[in-house]
Assembly symmetry: C2
Homo-oligomer: 241 residues x 2
Amino acid sequence: MKNNITRLFVENQLDIDSSILLSHSQSHYLMNVMRKQIKDHIKVFNGKDGEWLSEIIHYNKKLGVEISLKEKLRKQENLPELWLIFTPIKQSRLHFILEKSAELGVTKMFPILTSRTVISNINLEKSKLVLVEAAEQSNRLDIPVIYNLQKLDTLISNWNPDNKIVLCNESETHIHIRNIIHKLDKDICTIMIGPEGGFTSQELDYLGKLPFLYSVSLGAQILRSETAAISSLACIQMMRK
Amino acid sequence: MKNNITRLFVENQLDIDSSILLSHSQSHYLMNVMRKQIKDHIKVFNGKDGEWLSEIIHYNKKLGVEISLKEKLRKQENLPELWLIFTPIKQSRLHFILEKSAELGVTKMFPILTSRTVISNINLEKSKLVLVEAAEQSNRLDIPVIYNLQKLDTLISNWNPDNKIVLCNESETHIHIRNIIHKLDKDICTIMIGPEGGFTSQELDYLGKLPFLYSVSLGAQILRSETAAISSLACIQMMRK
Protein backbone atom coordinates (compact mmCIF):
# COMPACT_ATOMS: atom_id res chain seq x y z
CA MET A 1 0.00 0.00 0.00
CA LYS A 2 1.18 3.49 -0.79
CA ASN A 3 2.17 5.13 2.42
CA ASN A 4 0.95 8.70 2.35
CA ILE A 5 1.73 9.91 5.88
CA THR A 6 5.10 11.66 6.14
CA ARG A 7 7.68 9.58 8.03
CA LEU A 8 10.60 11.10 9.88
CA PHE A 9 13.64 9.64 11.57
CA VAL A 10 14.34 11.18 15.00
CA GLU A 11 17.10 10.63 17.54
CA ASN A 12 14.79 10.86 20.57
CA GLN A 13 13.45 8.01 22.65
CA LEU A 14 9.86 7.17 21.64
CA ASP A 15 7.24 6.54 24.27
CA ILE A 16 3.49 6.99 24.62
CA ASP A 17 2.34 10.61 25.20
CA SER A 18 5.86 11.99 25.16
CA SER A 19 6.45 15.07 23.05
CA ILE A 20 9.39 15.80 20.76
CA LEU A 21 10.79 19.02 19.37
CA LEU A 22 11.85 18.39 15.78
CA SER A 23 15.02 19.84 14.23
CA HIS A 24 14.92 23.08 12.26
CA SER A 25 15.36 21.34 8.95
CA GLN A 26 12.61 18.83 9.72
CA SER A 27 10.32 21.61 10.94
CA HIS A 28 10.96 23.60 7.78
CA TYR A 29 10.31 20.52 5.65
CA LEU A 30 7.01 19.76 7.37
CA MET A 31 5.56 23.26 7.52
CA ASN A 32 6.98 24.92 4.41
CA VAL A 33 7.56 22.08 1.98
CA MET A 34 4.83 19.62 2.97
CA ARG A 35 2.52 22.44 4.19
CA LYS A 36 1.43 20.56 7.29
CA GLN A 37 -0.90 22.16 9.86
CA ILE A 38 -1.34 21.86 13.62
CA LYS A 39 -3.17 18.57 14.38
CA ASP A 40 -1.81 16.87 11.23
CA HIS A 41 -0.32 13.43 11.71
CA ILE A 42 3.17 12.22 10.92
CA LYS A 43 4.97 8.97 11.65
CA VAL A 44 8.30 8.85 13.46
CA PHE A 45 10.88 6.13 14.10
CA ASN A 46 14.29 6.12 15.76
CA GLY A 47 15.73 2.74 14.81
CA LYS A 48 15.03 1.26 18.26
CA ASP A 49 11.46 1.85 19.46
CA GLY A 50 9.37 0.97 16.41
CA GLU A 51 7.15 3.37 14.47
CA TRP A 52 4.81 5.85 16.11
CA LEU A 53 1.86 7.89 14.95
CA SER A 54 2.22 11.43 16.20
CA GLU A 55 0.40 14.74 15.97
CA ILE A 56 1.78 18.20 15.35
CA ILE A 57 0.86 20.15 18.48
CA HIS A 58 2.89 23.38 18.25
CA TYR A 59 4.81 25.32 15.67
CA ASN A 60 7.01 28.27 16.35
CA LYS A 61 9.41 29.56 13.70
CA LYS A 62 12.25 29.91 16.17
CA LEU A 63 11.75 26.73 18.17
CA GLY A 64 10.38 24.51 15.43
CA VAL A 65 7.66 21.87 15.36
CA GLU A 66 6.60 20.00 18.47
CA ILE A 67 4.88 16.65 18.07
CA SER A 68 3.10 14.42 20.56
CA LEU A 69 3.30 10.63 20.26
CA LYS A 70 -0.12 9.00 20.01
CA GLU A 71 0.13 5.35 19.18
CA LYS A 72 2.74 2.72 18.44
CA LEU A 73 2.05 1.54 14.88
CA ARG A 74 4.80 -1.04 14.41
CA LYS A 75 7.16 -2.91 16.69
CA GLN A 76 10.85 -2.52 16.02
CA GLU A 77 11.95 -5.28 13.71
CA ASN A 78 15.49 -5.63 12.52
CA LEU A 79 16.09 -6.39 8.88
CA PRO A 80 18.23 -9.43 8.09
CA GLU A 81 21.87 -8.32 7.89
CA LEU A 82 22.90 -7.40 4.35
CA TRP A 83 26.19 -5.56 4.05
CA LEU A 84 27.78 -3.76 1.12
CA ILE A 85 31.48 -3.14 0.50
CA PHE A 86 31.94 -0.53 -2.24
CA THR A 87 34.35 2.12 -3.46
CA PRO A 88 33.57 5.84 -3.68
CA ILE A 89 32.43 6.92 -7.15
CA LYS A 90 31.38 10.30 -8.45
CA GLN A 91 28.71 12.14 -6.52
CA SER A 92 25.50 11.44 -8.44
CA ARG A 93 26.24 7.74 -8.82
CA LEU A 94 27.36 7.45 -5.20
CA HIS A 95 24.09 9.10 -4.12
CA PHE A 96 22.37 6.44 -6.14
CA ILE A 97 24.22 3.56 -4.45
CA LEU A 98 23.38 4.99 -1.02
CA GLU A 99 19.71 5.62 -1.77
CA LYS A 100 19.10 2.27 -3.45
CA SER A 101 21.02 0.38 -0.75
CA ALA A 102 18.72 1.88 1.87
CA GLU A 103 15.63 0.99 -0.19
CA LEU A 104 16.88 -2.55 -0.76
CA GLY A 105 17.49 -3.22 2.92
CA VAL A 106 21.27 -2.87 3.31
CA THR A 107 22.16 -2.68 6.99
CA LYS A 108 25.88 -1.81 6.92
CA MET A 109 27.98 -0.03 4.30
CA PHE A 110 31.77 -0.18 4.07
CA PRO A 111 33.44 2.25 1.66
CA ILE A 112 36.94 1.05 0.73
CA LEU A 113 40.00 2.34 -1.07
CA THR A 114 41.47 0.11 -3.78
CA SER A 115 44.33 0.69 -6.24
CA ARG A 116 41.99 1.94 -8.94
CA THR A 117 39.67 3.96 -6.72
CA VAL A 118 39.64 7.36 -8.43
CA ILE A 119 37.74 9.27 -5.77
CA SER A 120 39.64 8.96 -2.54
CA ASN A 121 37.19 10.46 -0.07
CA ILE A 122 33.57 10.25 0.89
CA ASN A 123 31.46 12.86 2.66
CA LEU A 124 30.01 10.81 5.50
CA GLU A 125 27.68 13.55 6.76
CA LYS A 126 26.05 14.00 3.34
CA SER A 127 25.96 10.23 2.87
CA LYS A 128 24.10 9.79 6.16
CA LEU A 129 21.50 12.38 5.10
CA VAL A 130 20.86 10.44 1.89
CA LEU A 131 20.53 7.20 3.87
CA VAL A 132 18.10 8.75 6.38
CA GLU A 133 15.91 10.23 3.64
CA ALA A 134 15.81 6.96 1.73
CA ALA A 135 14.98 5.01 4.91
CA GLU A 136 12.16 7.47 5.71
CA GLN A 137 10.70 7.03 2.22
CA SER A 138 11.06 3.29 1.97
CA ASN A 139 9.22 2.42 5.18
CA ARG A 140 12.16 0.83 7.00
CA LEU A 141 12.44 1.10 10.77
CA ASP A 142 16.20 1.56 10.86
CA ILE A 143 18.93 3.52 9.10
CA PRO A 144 21.84 1.78 7.35
CA VAL A 145 25.13 2.36 9.14
CA ILE A 146 27.97 3.72 7.03
CA TYR A 147 31.57 3.32 8.22
CA ASN A 148 34.67 5.39 7.60
CA LEU A 149 36.59 4.89 4.39
CA GLN A 150 39.37 2.33 4.88
CA LYS A 151 41.87 0.43 2.77
CA LEU A 152 40.78 -2.88 1.25
CA ASP A 153 43.42 -4.86 3.16
CA THR A 154 42.61 -3.16 6.47
CA LEU A 155 38.98 -4.18 6.07
CA ILE A 156 39.86 -7.74 5.08
CA SER A 157 42.42 -8.26 7.84
CA ASN A 158 39.76 -7.42 10.44
CA TRP A 159 37.00 -9.44 8.76
CA ASN A 160 35.08 -12.13 10.63
CA PRO A 161 35.49 -15.24 8.42
CA ASP A 162 31.99 -16.44 9.35
CA ASN A 163 30.65 -13.56 7.31
CA LYS A 164 30.78 -14.63 3.68
CA ILE A 165 31.62 -12.02 1.03
CA VAL A 166 30.14 -12.24 -2.47
CA LEU A 167 32.57 -10.47 -4.81
CA CYS A 168 30.90 -9.28 -8.01
CA ASN A 169 33.77 -9.87 -10.38
CA GLU A 170 33.72 -8.94 -14.07
CA SER A 171 36.50 -11.38 -14.86
CA GLU A 172 34.66 -14.31 -13.30
CA THR A 173 33.28 -16.54 -16.02
CA HIS A 174 32.39 -19.79 -14.27
CA ILE A 175 30.19 -19.07 -11.28
CA HIS A 176 27.02 -17.05 -11.62
CA ILE A 177 25.61 -15.35 -8.52
CA ARG A 178 22.47 -17.53 -8.69
CA ASN A 179 24.64 -20.61 -8.15
CA ILE A 180 25.94 -19.51 -4.78
CA ILE A 181 22.93 -17.80 -3.22
CA HIS A 182 21.81 -21.04 -1.55
CA LYS A 183 25.24 -21.34 0.10
CA LEU A 184 24.99 -18.05 1.91
CA ASP A 185 24.28 -17.91 5.58
CA LYS A 186 20.80 -16.50 6.04
CA ASP A 187 21.89 -14.45 9.04
CA ILE A 188 24.40 -12.33 7.23
CA CYS A 189 25.61 -11.71 3.74
CA THR A 190 27.99 -9.17 2.23
CA ILE A 191 28.21 -7.96 -1.36
CA MET A 192 31.53 -6.50 -2.59
CA ILE A 193 31.70 -4.22 -5.63
CA GLY A 194 34.87 -2.91 -7.25
CA PRO A 195 35.73 0.57 -8.52
CA GLU A 196 34.80 1.76 -12.05
CA GLY A 197 38.12 0.52 -13.40
CA GLY A 198 37.79 -2.86 -11.70
CA PHE A 199 40.12 -4.49 -9.19
CA THR A 200 43.75 -4.97 -10.24
CA SER A 201 44.92 -8.53 -10.93
CA GLN A 202 46.97 -8.40 -7.71
CA GLU A 203 43.85 -7.47 -5.75
CA LEU A 204 41.86 -10.23 -7.43
CA ASP A 205 44.59 -12.77 -6.61
CA TYR A 206 44.59 -11.61 -2.99
CA LEU A 207 40.78 -11.71 -2.76
CA GLY A 208 40.56 -15.03 -4.61
CA LYS A 209 42.59 -16.76 -1.89
CA LEU A 210 40.26 -15.75 0.94
CA PRO A 211 38.32 -18.79 2.16
CA PHE A 212 35.30 -16.67 3.11
CA LEU A 213 34.92 -15.02 -0.30
CA TYR A 214 32.93 -16.21 -3.34
CA SER A 215 33.85 -14.62 -6.66
CA VAL A 216 30.76 -14.50 -8.90
CA SER A 217 29.61 -13.24 -12.28
CA LEU A 218 26.48 -11.15 -12.74
CA GLY A 219 26.20 -12.16 -16.41
CA ALA A 220 27.71 -11.24 -19.75
CA GLN A 221 26.91 -7.52 -19.78
CA ILE A 222 29.44 -5.05 -18.40
CA LEU A 223 27.66 -3.31 -15.53
CA ARG A 224 28.62 -0.01 -13.98
CA SER A 225 29.57 -0.19 -10.28
CA GLU A 226 26.22 1.11 -9.07
CA THR A 227 24.27 -1.23 -11.37
CA ALA A 228 26.26 -4.21 -10.12
CA ALA A 229 25.59 -3.17 -6.51
CA ILE A 230 21.84 -2.72 -6.97
CA SER A 231 21.37 -5.82 -9.13
CA SER A 232 23.20 -8.11 -6.75
CA LEU A 233 21.45 -6.67 -3.69
CA ALA A 234 18.05 -7.08 -5.37
CA CYS A 235 18.86 -10.69 -6.28
CA ILE A 236 19.98 -11.57 -2.75
CA GLN A 237 16.88 -9.95 -1.24
CA MET A 238 14.61 -11.70 -3.72
CA MET A 239 15.93 -15.14 -2.88
CA ARG A 240 15.98 -14.52 0.86
CA LYS A 241 12.50 -13.39 1.69
CA MET B 1 37.00 -8.68 -18.39
CA LYS B 2 37.15 -4.93 -18.42
CA ASN B 3 36.68 -3.77 -21.95
CA ASN B 4 39.08 -0.91 -22.60
CA ILE B 5 38.64 -0.29 -26.33
CA THR B 6 36.07 2.43 -27.06
CA ARG B 7 32.85 1.01 -28.56
CA LEU B 8 30.57 3.03 -30.80
CA PHE B 9 27.16 2.37 -32.27
CA VAL B 10 26.87 3.30 -35.97
CA GLU B 11 23.99 3.21 -38.43
CA ASN B 12 26.13 1.99 -41.36
CA GLN B 13 26.32 -1.51 -42.76
CA LEU B 14 29.42 -3.30 -41.44
CA ASP B 15 31.59 -5.34 -43.80
CA ILE B 16 35.24 -6.30 -44.10
CA ASP B 17 37.53 -3.51 -45.38
CA SER B 18 34.70 -1.03 -45.75
CA SER B 19 35.28 2.43 -44.37
CA ILE B 20 32.87 4.60 -42.40
CA LEU B 21 32.72 8.32 -41.78
CA LEU B 22 31.66 8.86 -38.17
CA SER B 23 29.25 11.60 -37.08
CA HIS B 24 30.53 14.95 -35.84
CA SER B 25 29.66 14.22 -32.24
CA GLN B 26 31.34 10.80 -32.37
CA SER B 27 34.41 12.30 -34.08
CA HIS B 28 34.62 15.03 -31.44
CA TYR B 29 34.25 12.44 -28.66
CA LEU B 30 37.02 10.23 -30.08
CA MET B 31 39.58 12.90 -30.92
CA ASN B 32 38.95 15.58 -28.27
CA VAL B 33 37.53 13.69 -25.31
CA MET B 34 39.21 10.28 -25.66
CA ARG B 35 42.29 11.81 -27.37
CA LYS B 36 42.53 9.06 -29.96
CA GLN B 37 45.14 9.18 -32.72
CA ILE B 38 45.29 7.97 -36.32
CA LYS B 39 45.85 4.17 -36.30
CA ASP B 40 44.14 3.76 -32.91
CA HIS B 41 41.54 1.02 -32.70
CA ILE B 42 37.88 1.28 -31.80
CA LYS B 43 35.05 -1.23 -31.88
CA VAL B 44 31.81 -0.58 -33.75
CA PHE B 45 28.42 -2.31 -33.90
CA ASN B 46 25.15 -1.50 -35.65
CA GLY B 47 22.67 -3.90 -34.04
CA LYS B 48 22.70 -6.22 -37.06
CA ASP B 49 26.19 -7.18 -38.23
CA GLY B 50 27.96 -8.04 -34.98
CA GLU B 51 30.95 -6.21 -33.52
CA TRP B 52 33.94 -5.09 -35.58
CA LEU B 53 37.44 -3.99 -34.78
CA SER B 54 38.28 -0.89 -36.76
CA GLU B 55 41.12 1.54 -37.17
CA ILE B 56 41.05 5.32 -37.35
CA ILE B 57 42.47 6.13 -40.81
CA HIS B 58 41.68 9.83 -41.32
CA TYR B 59 40.67 12.80 -39.29
CA ASN B 60 39.55 16.10 -40.64
CA LYS B 61 37.87 18.68 -38.42
CA LYS B 62 35.22 19.45 -41.03
CA LEU B 63 34.51 15.94 -42.27
CA GLY B 64 35.15 14.04 -39.05
CA VAL B 65 36.80 10.70 -38.36
CA GLU B 66 37.02 7.96 -40.95
CA ILE B 67 37.51 4.38 -39.79
CA SER B 68 38.31 1.22 -41.68
CA LEU B 69 36.84 -2.13 -40.59
CA LYS B 70 39.50 -4.73 -39.89
CA GLU B 71 38.03 -7.82 -38.30
CA LYS B 72 34.71 -9.16 -37.11
CA LEU B 73 35.08 -9.73 -33.36
CA ARG B 74 31.64 -11.04 -32.45
CA LYS B 75 28.69 -12.42 -34.37
CA GLN B 76 25.39 -10.64 -33.93
CA GLU B 77 23.49 -12.30 -31.14
CA ASN B 78 20.11 -11.15 -30.04
CA LEU B 79 19.43 -10.87 -26.34
CA PRO B 80 16.40 -12.74 -25.01
CA GLU B 81 13.38 -10.43 -25.17
CA LEU B 82 12.87 -8.49 -21.95
CA TRP B 83 10.42 -5.60 -22.15
CA LEU B 84 9.67 -2.80 -19.73
CA ILE B 85 6.42 -0.83 -19.41
CA PHE B 86 6.99 2.29 -17.30
CA THR B 87 5.70 5.81 -16.76
CA PRO B 88 7.71 8.98 -17.29
CA ILE B 89 9.28 10.33 -14.09
CA LYS B 90 11.49 13.32 -13.51
CA GLN B 91 14.57 13.68 -15.67
CA SER B 92 17.42 12.34 -13.52
CA ARG B 93 15.45 9.29 -12.40
CA LEU B 94 14.16 8.64 -15.92
CA HIS B 95 17.75 8.80 -17.20
CA PHE B 96 18.53 6.20 -14.60
CA ILE B 97 15.73 3.85 -15.71
CA LEU B 98 16.88 4.15 -19.33
CA GLU B 99 20.58 3.62 -18.60
CA LYS B 100 20.06 0.70 -16.22
CA SER B 101 17.50 -0.94 -18.54
CA ALA B 102 20.07 -0.91 -21.32
CA GLU B 103 22.74 -2.35 -19.01
CA LEU B 104 20.38 -5.04 -17.75
CA GLY B 105 19.43 -6.23 -21.22
CA VAL B 106 15.99 -4.69 -21.82
CA THR B 107 15.08 -4.98 -25.50
CA LYS B 108 11.89 -2.88 -25.74
CA MET B 109 10.63 0.01 -23.63
CA PHE B 110 7.02 1.23 -23.54
CA PRO B 111 6.39 4.53 -21.76
CA ILE B 112 2.73 4.84 -20.72
CA LEU B 113 0.37 7.46 -19.35
CA THR B 114 -1.67 6.49 -16.28
CA SER B 115 -4.06 8.53 -14.12
CA ARG B 116 -1.34 9.44 -11.64
CA THR B 117 1.45 10.02 -14.16
CA VAL B 118 2.72 13.47 -13.20
CA ILE B 119 5.07 14.01 -16.12
CA SER B 120 3.05 13.70 -19.29
CA ASN B 121 5.76 13.70 -21.92
CA ILE B 122 9.05 12.06 -22.69
CA ASN B 123 11.86 13.36 -24.87
CA LEU B 124 12.40 10.38 -27.18
CA GLU B 125 15.48 11.83 -28.89
CA LYS B 126 17.29 12.40 -25.59
CA SER B 127 16.12 9.02 -24.33
CA LYS B 128 17.57 7.29 -27.38
CA LEU B 129 20.94 8.98 -26.82
CA VAL B 130 21.01 7.65 -23.24
CA LEU B 131 20.14 4.16 -24.47
CA VAL B 132 22.85 4.21 -27.16
CA GLU B 133 25.51 5.39 -24.72
CA ALA B 134 24.56 2.75 -22.15
CA ALA B 135 24.56 0.02 -24.82
CA GLU B 136 28.01 1.12 -26.01
CA GLN B 137 29.36 0.96 -22.46
CA SER B 138 27.76 -2.30 -21.45
CA ASN B 139 29.05 -4.40 -24.33
CA ARG B 140 25.68 -5.24 -25.88
CA LEU B 141 25.36 -5.68 -29.62
CA ASP B 142 21.98 -3.98 -29.95
CA ILE B 143 20.17 -0.87 -28.75
CA PRO B 144 16.91 -1.09 -26.76
CA VAL B 145 13.94 0.18 -28.78
CA ILE B 146 11.82 2.87 -27.10
CA TYR B 147 8.27 3.49 -28.31
CA ASN B 148 6.09 6.58 -28.26
CA LEU B 149 4.23 7.45 -25.09
CA GLN B 150 0.72 5.98 -25.14
CA LYS B 151 -2.19 5.54 -22.78
CA LEU B 152 -2.26 2.46 -20.56
CA ASP B 153 -5.48 1.15 -22.10
CA THR B 154 -4.25 1.73 -25.66
CA LEU B 155 -1.18 -0.36 -24.91
CA ILE B 156 -3.21 -3.11 -23.25
CA SER B 157 -5.89 -3.29 -25.92
CA ASN B 158 -3.20 -3.99 -28.53
CA TRP B 159 -1.24 -6.43 -26.36
CA ASN B 160 -0.45 -9.95 -27.54
CA PRO B 161 -1.81 -12.18 -24.75
CA ASP B 162 1.02 -14.70 -25.28
CA ASN B 163 3.35 -12.08 -23.84
CA LYS B 164 2.99 -12.24 -20.06
CA ILE B 165 3.21 -9.01 -18.06
CA VAL B 166 4.65 -8.98 -14.54
CA LEU B 167 3.08 -6.05 -12.71
CA CYS B 168 5.18 -4.85 -9.77
CA ASN B 169 2.36 -3.91 -7.44
CA GLU B 170 2.88 -2.29 -4.03
CA SER B 171 -0.56 -3.41 -2.85
CA GLU B 172 0.11 -7.05 -3.70
CA THR B 173 0.75 -9.00 -0.52
CA HIS B 174 0.38 -12.65 -1.53
CA ILE B 175 2.59 -13.37 -4.51
CA HIS B 176 6.28 -12.53 -4.48
CA ILE B 177 8.07 -12.11 -7.82
CA ARG B 178 10.28 -15.14 -7.07
CA ASN B 179 7.16 -17.35 -7.04
CA ILE B 180 6.17 -16.60 -10.62
CA ILE B 181 9.53 -16.39 -12.38
CA HIS B 182 9.41 -20.09 -13.31
CA LYS B 183 6.01 -19.55 -14.97
CA LEU B 184 7.31 -16.99 -17.42
CA ASP B 185 7.89 -17.91 -21.00
CA LYS B 186 11.63 -17.88 -21.60
CA ASP B 187 11.20 -16.27 -25.01
CA ILE B 188 9.64 -13.09 -23.78
CA CYS B 189 8.86 -11.37 -20.54
CA THR B 190 7.55 -7.90 -19.69
CA ILE B 191 7.89 -5.96 -16.46
CA MET B 192 5.33 -3.24 -15.70
CA ILE B 193 6.07 -0.46 -13.20
CA GLY B 194 3.60 2.19 -12.00
CA PRO B 195 4.07 5.93 -11.54
CA GLU B 196 5.47 7.44 -8.31
CA GLY B 197 1.96 7.75 -6.84
CA GLY B 198 1.06 4.17 -7.79
CA PHE B 199 -1.78 2.95 -10.00
CA THR B 200 -5.32 3.99 -8.99
CA SER B 201 -7.62 1.29 -7.63
CA GLN B 202 -9.62 1.42 -10.88
CA GLU B 203 -6.45 0.80 -12.87
CA LEU B 204 -5.45 -2.07 -10.56
CA ASP B 205 -8.95 -3.62 -10.95
CA TYR B 206 -8.66 -3.33 -14.72
CA LEU B 207 -5.14 -4.78 -14.79
CA GLY B 208 -6.02 -7.50 -12.27
CA LYS B 209 -8.61 -8.96 -14.65
CA LEU B 210 -6.19 -9.44 -17.52
CA PRO B 211 -5.46 -13.15 -18.01
CA PHE B 212 -1.92 -12.44 -19.25
CA LEU B 213 -0.87 -10.34 -16.25
CA TYR B 214 0.71 -11.47 -12.97
CA SER B 215 0.51 -9.02 -10.10
CA VAL B 216 3.54 -9.49 -7.81
CA SER B 217 5.18 -8.01 -4.74
CA LEU B 218 8.87 -7.08 -4.60
CA GLY B 219 8.91 -7.34 -0.80
CA ALA B 220 7.93 -5.27 2.22
CA GLN B 221 9.98 -2.16 1.49
CA ILE B 222 8.41 0.69 -0.48
CA LEU B 223 10.57 1.07 -3.57
CA ARG B 224 10.75 4.10 -5.81
CA SER B 225 9.65 3.48 -9.42
CA GLU B 226 13.18 3.27 -10.75
CA THR B 227 14.30 0.94 -7.94
CA ALA B 228 11.36 -1.36 -8.61
CA ALA B 229 12.21 -1.40 -12.32
CA ILE B 230 15.89 -2.18 -11.83
CA SER B 231 15.35 -4.74 -9.05
CA SER B 232 12.75 -6.70 -10.96
CA LEU B 233 14.78 -6.62 -14.19
CA ALA B 234 17.89 -7.81 -12.32
CA CYS B 235 15.92 -10.64 -10.73
CA ILE B 236 14.43 -11.80 -14.02
CA GLN B 237 17.85 -11.71 -15.70
CA MET B 238 19.47 -13.58 -12.83
CA MET B 239 17.02 -16.44 -13.01
CA ARG B 240 17.06 -16.64 -16.79
CA LYS B 241 20.68 -16.95 -17.75
